[in-house]
Symmetry: C2
Subunit: 173 residues, 2 copies
């Protein structure tokens, strides 16, 4: 059984929607796509660094469309680990586990990894929205489209823009 490493923020959890909502409360208007595309999250939102330290930011993130249905199917075919950068933001630790338990109840505690760096993660396939995590991975890599990575491409990583695309890559072959 192949080991599939799945990122959480920006792949399962729609943290962009949280950034945009928090930013809207601060500035009174919703940021346009053109203001955030191609820009790192923490730069696109002036107060982004305080948002990710706000209780509830991770716990209340919306689920990315299609991820529940497809991940449940993948979980029967692959050895799945959800690997999420969390140690930097302490309040996120418990929030992330509770969020997974609520939205992905088929994922067990043995399948969750909370880390800082992902450089020591070993697997066959990785889905992540950050180049830094994919670049150090030895297996097949999928870049999940998010505004911050939209303008950049790498021949080393295959871009996927939805869970439907992941399904067609990993479940129909």
């Amino acid at each position: 059984m192949e080991r599939l490493i799945v990122d959480m923020d920006g792949v399962l959890a729609d943290v962009y929607e949280q950034f945009i909502s928090f930013d809207m409360l601060d500035h009174g208007r919703r940021k346009k796509p053109s203001e955030i595309v191609g820009i790192p999250e923490h730069e696109a939102f002036e107060n982004g660094k305080s948002y990710v330290r706000t209780p509830g930011f991770f716990r209340n993130a919306p689920v990315i469309h299609g991820s529940q249905r497809v991940l449940e199917k993948l979980n029967k075919k692959y050895e799945i680990f959800i690997v999420s950068s969390a140690i930097e933001f302490r309040q996120s630790l418990l929030e992330k586990i509770e969020w997974l338990e609520e939205h992905f109840p088929f994922i067990t505690w043995e399948q969750i990894v909370l880390c800082g760096s992902k450089i020591m993660i070993k697997g066959d396939i990785m889905i992540d929205d950050h180049f830094k995590n994919l670049d150090s991975f030895e297996g097949k890599t999928y870049l999940f489209t998010q505004p911050h990575n939209q303008k950049f491409n790498s021949k080393d990583h295959e871009r996927v823009s939805s869970w439907g695309e992941i399904e067609s890559r990993l479940l129909t072959t």
Copy 2:
């Protein structure tokens, strides 16, 4: 720089001393070594499963002798990650990070991994007190002596019984 994976409970944190103290409060006497040697932790202490869910169990664990001094030296020579099984016991997540911050302030958040299984961890050297973690590791493995593993040996893992022994293996060559 070689990557060194270091376990927390039973290698840095003296969880046995915590088990013994909690058990002493329950039974009015200190368990003898003969009562715990060669027996899994959760069986050696009747109420062990409730101890590890008690707030403060991990936060107040004593530091294993020599680990601070030797790990600080190792941290200059190796790429170190502290990898600890924690997801099963939620109250332990924050306690473990705070404990590391207090006793091992030279370890940064990027170097901490809280997980369930360790099967997806990649590195050159691993120090752990549990066979299940060492058995799936691809690199060189050191079994750190603890009462539960004292009666068992494996030709695949080199036994070390103190941080002084780790120092002589990993720092003087």
